[in-house]
């Protein structure tokens, strides 16, 4: 399952023009760091953005988080704490 968006690069904003303001075809704005754009992108360019679900990475992240949390839990002294 994936979504493909067509976006127009409207302008750059921010103190160092580091924020790219993208517009969907419906006129919604989407701000992303300029550094994520393909090099040479300039206002007026039409960009394509694909968003897809990465099931394997999701599973991996959840499992890794659970593993670290369980390990940290072992160190919990339990009961009340006196600082």
């Amino acid at each position: 399952m994936s979504t493909r968006l067509s976006l127009s690069l409207d302008r750059f904003e921010g103190k160092g023009k580091e924020i790219a303001v993208l517009l969907t075809d419906d006129g919604e704005t989407l701000n992303i760091p300029r550094s994520l754009l393909p090099s040479g992108s300039k206002p007026g360019d039409v960009l394509a953005l694909s968003i897809e679900h990465n099931a394997a990475a999701t599973r991996e992240l959840a499992e890794e988080t659970r593993r670290v949390e369980e390990k940290l839990k072992d160190g919990d002294p339990g009961g009340d704490i006196k600082l």
């Binding site: 992240l61 670290v68 002294p77 009340d80 704490i81 600082l83």
Partner: protein, 324 residues
Amino acid sequence: MTIRHRIRSLALAVLSLGFALTCGEGRAQWPFQRPSANPVAVEVLDVGQGDSILIRSPEGKTVLIDAGPTKDGALRVLKRMGIDHLDLVAISHHHSDHYGGMEEVVRELKPRYFLASSSGHSTRTYLRLLKTVEAEGITVVHPTSRSRKIELGSVELTIFPQAPEDHQEENNNSVGLRLKHGSFSMLFPGDSEGPERQFWLEHCSDLVRDCTILKLAHHGSRNGTDARWLGTVRPELAVASMGVDNEYGHPHSETVRLLRSERIPFLRTDQLGTIIIQSDGRGWNVVEPTLLRGKRPTPEDVERVAAATTERSPSRRESRSRTR
């Protein structure tokens, strides 16, 4: 009018402006003073659209609840305040507007304890934070099915019993905390929404009831406050942290209306900057909000507030007496 009275009147007038901004009324409803000796101080830090709250006990114990949305924002604020150690840091829940700056705080200030739920909601950034906590050898504390107490000298923090994990809405996995110092208390409900607050009302209503000050859940969102909750907490003051002109519309108008109808004054970091509350365990007061410093109240403000407060009101607000 003596110089001392004049200064006090000006100070109260400045605060009344903040109150007028938030509640649309003209009278200061709470006292406002310079820091008193040896108080517990709760500082709702101005970190933009997120939460970060610093607690300093009279004995010098320090706790940071959440670390705002940006990577180095909270650390920068803490350093500016001269904070060079933290005894405990807490993550109310696993959303980045609450833990975004915690990795830097942990790396730099190396707290002794790290408190967080073990909810399964994660991001790669959160996982990196956990790994940093692990690498630094910090002792981790979790909420459990029973309440737990953390003693900060004369100040006590109670961790609420953890509600069953909500796999759909991480806000409902918030860690609830109640601070107690004498008869003063403050409630930190994270971003909890209706289901988790309902759980607390059913399972630990004694921890929720009659708190002097309420940190609003979820930045004043409509899903962070309701009439039953307010009717149980019965706060004398509500505070919330949010960014200026944030795109989520926080605080929502429903919350502001509800607070207004209950006549609960409401202070916001987007309007006042960092909000500092202090208590000696009996009374409490708000220290001059940072963003109001240097603003000049009108003579009418001075007269109005002076007339309303200097003669008849006590100089400090006494907390309602409580047995807990």
